[in-house]
Every structure is written in C-alpha cells, then in structure tokens.
Amino acid sequence: MIAREPRPVLLLVACVASLALLPFVFPAYPRFVATIALLNTIAVVGLGLVMGYAGLVSLGHAGFVAVGAYTAALLVAKASYPFWVSLPLGIAAATAIGFVVGLPTLRLNPLYLAMVTFGFGQSVFLIALNWVSLTRGANGLRIPPPRAFGVTVGPDAMYWIVAAAAVLAVVTAYRITRTRPGRAFMALRESEIAAVVAGVNPRAYKTMAFGLSAAYAGLAGALYVGVVLFINPDSFVFPVSLMYVTMAVVGGMGTLAGIIVGAVVLTILPEWLRGFAEYRELLAGGMLLSFLVFLPQGIAGFVRQRQGGSRRLLVSRGASATAYALPSWDSDGRENEAKVGDGRERLLRVENVRKSFGGVHALRGVNLQVVGGTIHGLIGPNGSGKTTLFNVITRLYEPDEGTVWFENANLLTVPAFSLAELGVARTFQNLELFTRLTVLENVLIGMHSHIPVSLTRAVLGKAGTRRLEEEARQRAMGILHFVGFEGDAGQPAGTLPFGHQRLVEIARALASRPKILLLDEPSSGLTLRGVEALGEAIQRIRAELGITIVLVAHTMRLVLGVCDVVSVLDHGEKIAEGVPDAVRMDPDVIRAYLGDEGEPTGGSPRHTAGVGGA
C-alpha cells in the first residue's frame, strides 16, 4: 500500500483529445455551443473554488466576468490594443477588483457576504448600463476580430484558444485543490474554527480564493469578447450569476469534475430546449428543480454514491496506516526542549485571566502554570470555565483581562492562526473534524504550517511540489499509525465511528508538531476500553514525542491515572491544584462536585459516585 496519489492523466488526455476532435466532427453551431460551454466552464471552475471549496456563496460572479469582458473590449475598441494584450489586462482587472471587493467584506457572515456579492454584480451591471460615454450603455460595444500573425482569428478559430484556456484553467484548479492551498480552502468551508486552530489564516485564504475566482471570471469574460465580438450589459445580468451558481450546484460543488459536468450540461440543455419557444424557461426551471431535489449532492455526488467509494482517492482504497512508521519527528530542526525531566520551565502561563459573557462570569482571574514535559489535568464541574479557558488560550475568545504567555511570547498579541506555528495545538470537546474530507486530508490540514507549498508553487506544479506533498502524506499516515488509527484513511472523516473520529482529531493536532497539546474532553463518549487506549496514547505522546499535554476530562480514572499535576476550576476560579491524590482529597474539590453537580463523570458509568470513585 502506498500513499501515492493517482493522477488522472488518462482522463486529461481523453478530454484534450475529444476537444481537439470536436471541430472536425461537428459543424459551426455545435462548435459555437462548445465554445460557450468552455467559457462557462472557466467561469464556473472559478466560482467552484470560492463556493465549493472555500464555502462562500457568491451571487455576483457575472460582475467579475463583466469586468474582464469590458476591460478587454474597451482596450481593444477605444485604445486599439491588440486583443492578446487586452486579454491578460482583463484578467488582471477582474482579479484586482476581486481583491478590492473581497478584502474588506470577507469577514461578514455568509448571508451578508452573499448580499455584498449580489450588490457588486448588480452595480457592475448598472455602471456598464449607465456610463454611456464609456461603454455605450445598452447600445453595446463592437470590437474587430482578434488578429494573430497577420491572420484574422474568427469565432471558429477562437474555439481552439478557448479550449486551450479551459484546459489550462482546469489543470490549474486541479493542482490548487489537490495541494495545501486547496486543502486550506476546504478546511475553512468545513469548520473555520478548526482550520484556524490548524494554522490556516482565514482572511488570507478567503481573499485568495475570492481573487482566484475573479481571475477565472476575468479570463472567461475577456475570451467571451473575442468570441462574440459584441458586448452589452444584457450579458451580465443577475440571472447569469444565478446560472453560474446553478451550474456549480447541479454538477456537484466541491468536486472539479462535477463543476465541469454542470457547466457543460447546463449550457447544452437550454440549447436543446431552444426550439420549445415560450415553454423553454418553464422546462428549464422544472428540470433544475428536479435535479436539485433528486440529486442534492449534484451529478458528481450521485455518481460517487453509486460507486459507493471514497470521496476522493488520495490514497489507494482501504489504505491502512499500519504499514507506516512515524517518520523522524525532529528532522526539521524543531527542538522539543521540554523533554521529560528537564522540567522546571513554565511552558504555558495563564495570568489573571477574566472573561465574561453578558452577566455571566466564565473566568474570574484564573492563574495557571503548565510545566514543560508534564501531563497537566484540568477538571471541574460543568460550566466551571475549562473550555472557555482553552478558547482564551487558543485565541478564539478575547479575554477581558489578563495575559497568556507561551514560552516567551504573549499569545494575546498574535492572531489565532499563528498559534499552530508557535507550537500550540488543541482538540475540541464536540469534535471539529472536517467531516466531508478524508481522514488523510484532515491530518494533512494539521500540517498546514509545515508544508512549504504556496499558491504559486501549487499552480506551477514544480516537481518539488509533488515530492513535498508525497512526503507530507507519508508523514500523515505515520501519525495516524502512531495514534493507533487502524481504519481506512481514504474515508470521509464524518463516516467514522465516534472513537476513531477522536483519534483522527488527535492525529490532526499532532500533525502540526506542537510543543503543547490541549485536549478538550477527549474521553467523552468513549467506551471503557477506548478510555484505556486513550490513556496509553496520551502517555506515549508525552513519552515518545516529548509533547506537553493539558487534559480536560470528566473521566476521573483517566485524569488520575495519567496526569502529573491536576488543577481544579469551579465557577471560573481555580480552587485547587496539586498531584492527583492530593486533589482528590481536597475538601473544596469534593464540595464543588457534590454541592453543585454531584457527578463529575462523563463516559464511564463506574465512576459516577464522585471524585473518589476510583
């Protein structure tokens, strides 16, 4: 079993060959339809990156297409630039506008972002319509056909240009989606919080996705001008934006093949319906509705379901991690200084942290020191502030007061996504796995900060990129093996049994090579045997990887069994701290549990009787 990614070279060759043959088989009209289908493919591939991968709804994609088209057309018609110069300028203009729109607005919630994109698309349309002195408004702009080497490139010949551009666009998108930037997009779509904790900078990647999608739209728009040789604002109305979204949805968002199928099918379908005259819109609407209702995952999702296979075969089906050893952990030069025993260093210091929500005081001046190389337990009744404290440490909540030091850095001065790079990793009480991504991808996203594959690098597809990705996959399989995951790494994480999901989440956290690992209730929902395995895993993580661990748990046996030090929180205050046995006897602790909640246990029924149950 190898973790080599199968590359669909054959598929690509088949597509290119059929694109090359099409003009010889079909006369002018189907060739024109094919050209339009390819233009739509380019535009929708861009939309797919932003919607299917990054999870942002865009209702103004036609606006970006319009920017590309009008830039190219105006440069040709008014400044007499050659079409081939105007084309890249059109793409550049659309990309620039994409960044200008995206930068301030991408932090809005999805509904309002949809609204902003809608407003953008509508504004571009209205400006094109009403800036008559520039665009000639609804009268439209006519441009001469492009020329190359003294020969006029008519609409028929433009087919070849458009086909080449479409292949290029698809290959580029494929490379992006299969490597680090694409995984970051998908991580943001699945769970922004988990993505941030794994080290993904959300603003940067969302803006990148938005800019990329605008670039694709600009390419489609500029090429459109070269094909139709006439533009007016009617080609960029809101229904066109909706049509792009429809193509992405019907094809199956989140898969490149689905997006292409959607664009092609929904270009050809209305062509076929053209003869139905006034019934055409009705039929198209009915077909669209049945597509959505009967194939809500799109055509691609339907095909996948039929095959019953893995979402995507990043590894050979059924690849198990057992064959992998953990690769040399410290090879990249990161020293885990805090090995067991050299231990006085206070790795993590929480100083006087306060946090309240409205009138609820979740944390009232908590102090906590975690010594490097220890396993530090954090217990307390429900609502005592444990998870809130984790959220403050990992920068998901801004404290009202206090500081958090990690090594020599004040964590409150750095953004949440850079914690992974500093060496802080965590898991979540309610599991924040990227459920629709495979197990392997989940772990790979954990490595985000350690794979030096930038967007440019991914797009150019240098040989080194494949090697780096390949190494990352090997390493990820090794980590899965280390935590004891024995299932199929090519399976969507959401389909795993609960206990396995816990393991995968721990593996993802480990993948960022943390110095400290915050585990939030890793034992809840586990069987007794699962808890035992977890305890062993935690000890191995400390012993073999030298990672300091902070453990929040309800299962007393786990806490008492593995922890070196235990701190107890109650009502947002630390009420006790010390070695497990001492804490267990502490009268304040007993009162806190018995007085308020009575039941400090989570999963293990044998320990429902209180702190001293073991």
């Binding site: 407003g119 509508q122 009705l282 959505l292 959220n391």
Partner: protein, 291 residues
C-alpha cells in the same frame, strides 16, 4: 428647496413601505428556517395575478378577492415548502437558494405563458388621488401601505413573542432537534411559516399592485426589499421594516441630490459600508460564536 427635500422624503417613505412589506416575508422565513426564499417575489406576483383574475374576470368583490387569494397562496406556500425546501433541509444553503429560485422561474414562466399581456391594473385598497400636506403630495394608498407595514411588524413581533405557536417557531429556528424533543412538530411549523410568508407576499402584492402594476416581472421588487431587510438587520422583524423604509428614503434622496441613474450603485456602496461597520445590519443582533 425645503419642499423638494420633504417631498423626496415623503415619496421615499411610500417606496420604502413597499420594500418593508415585501422584506418582512423574507425575514419571517429566515427567522424560522435560516433559509432565503428566492421565489418570494414570484409568490407576490402570483398573488396579485390571481387577485386580478378573480376581481376583473370572475367579478369577485374586492375583499372576497383578498380572502380567496390569501387562502390559495397559503396553499402555494406550503407546496413550495414541500417541494423545494423540505427535501433539501440538510443540503447546503446555496442548494436551497437555487431550488427556490427554480420554483420562482417556474411560477414566472407559467404566468407568462398563460398571460402574454404585458401588464394590468389592480384596483387600489385606498384612493390613489393625491392630497397635500403643506408642500408635500401624498396618496392615501402610499400612507396606507406604510401603516399596514408598521402594523404587520408589530403584529408579528407580538405573535412571535407571546403566542405558543410563535414561541414554538422561535424555538425551532434556534435548534430543530431540541424543538422536536420537546414535542414541537417541526414539519408542521415549517409548513406554517412558509404559508405565513406566502400570505404576506400575496397581501403585499395586491396592496402595491396599483403602484407597480401587475405583470410577470413585478417580483423584481423583492430584490430591493431584500437589500432593505439586510440593511436593517436580517434577523429582526423591526429591522426589516426600518431598513426598508430607510432604503426607500435614502434611495430617493440620492436620486434627487446626487445621481438618478446611478442611485442603486450608491445604495449598494452604502449597504457595504453599513455592513462593514455593523455586520448585523443597523438594528440586528450580533450572533455569538459557539465552540
């Protein structure tokens, strides 16, 4: 000069009340199901169109037309919920948006096939004759629409807050599983919500029909109504109405004093600025992140 500004504000209020009334239906559905109904404008048009046919061709009286249309459209609302929303409850938001947009397309094109006539006039509930207050000209219909919009938002706020059904609806919007566990029939709530929203749309359609006229495309008013609701705050009923009114006034003032052809562009730019400063709209509540 002062007269022009007052008149612009008054005219803007009339336009804004149209937005408010239409926007309310969007918000009601969003409140309960966290979904946007892109067929809202078409339901509005369908209501006005059926009303027109009943009133002018079947000789129904004005109020009986109103009653029959509201009942018919409530059924339409339930049908849309069954066909376009319920099978897709677990699908991504974009899929539901597309499916309701498809329903809108079906309604619009069906009406267009059945009635090739470009537009018709529907009798107004209140008089269209203008009357003067100082330098300002108003119509009874315009004032009536404003009043009804304000009344509707108060009625719905009370309904959501103080009736069992309203509380059940709010609970459903917070957490469907929990609502189901405490014995609320979630499917019934959904049907009811869509029926209410459709009834709101149809009532708005018949009210505003004398101003914008009945035609297959009259649903486009929903787009601006949607913008108004977002401006005010999409998770609040009062926000939808205030946002709609404000949008109408601001739009008209920009049209008079800045630019008439580009007024919508300026409006969208303003909307983006408002959202950046107040990401939940002017009076919407910020939604808290839960980990």
């Amino acid at each position: 000069m002062m007269g022009v500004m007052l008149q612009a504000i008054a005219s803007g209020m009339t336009l804004g009340s149209i937005y408010a009334l239409v926007g309310l239906g969007f918000v009601v559905i969003y409140q309960a199901t966290r979904t946007l109904n892109f067929a809202h404008g078409e339901v509005l048009m369908l209501g006005a169109m059926i009303g027109l046919i009943l009133h002018t061709e079947w000789q129904f009286g004005y109020w009986s037309t109103f009653a029959v249309v509201l009942i018919l459209i409530a059924v339409v609302g339930v049908v849309i919920e069954r066909v376009a929303y319920r099978p897709l409850i677990r699908a991504p938001a974009a899929t539901v948006i597309m499916s309701t947009a498809a329903v809108g397309q079906i309604i619009r094109s069906t009406v267009r096939i059945l009635r090739t006539e470009e537009l018709s006039f529907f009798p107004p509930m209140f008089s269209l004759e203008p009357f003067h207050i100082g330098p300002v000209v108003l119509t009874r219909l315009g004032v009536g629409i404003t009043g009804i919009a304000v009344f509707a938002v108060m009625a719905f706020t009370l309904f959501f807050r103080y009736t069992t059904m309203g509380t059940a609806m709010r609970a459903t919007s917070q957490n469907q599983t929990a609502a189901w566990l405490v014995g609320i029939s979630v499917p019934r709530i959904f049907s009811l919500i869509w029926a209410i929203s459709a009834v709101l749309a149809a009532a708005a359609g018949m009210l505003i029909a004398p101003l914008v006229l009945v035609r297959p495309d009259m649903g486009v008013v929903a787009i601006k109504a949607f913008v108004g609701a977002v401006l005010g705050g999409f998770n609040s009923l009062a926000g939808a109405v205030i946002g709609g009114l404000l949008l109408g006034v601001v739009e008209t003032l920009i049209g008079v004093y800045v630019t008439s052809a580009f007024k919508d562009v300026v409006v969208f730019a303003l909307l983006i600025i408002v959202l950046l400063v107040r990401p939940s709209g002017l009076i919407g509540r910020q939604e808290v992140l839960r980990v």
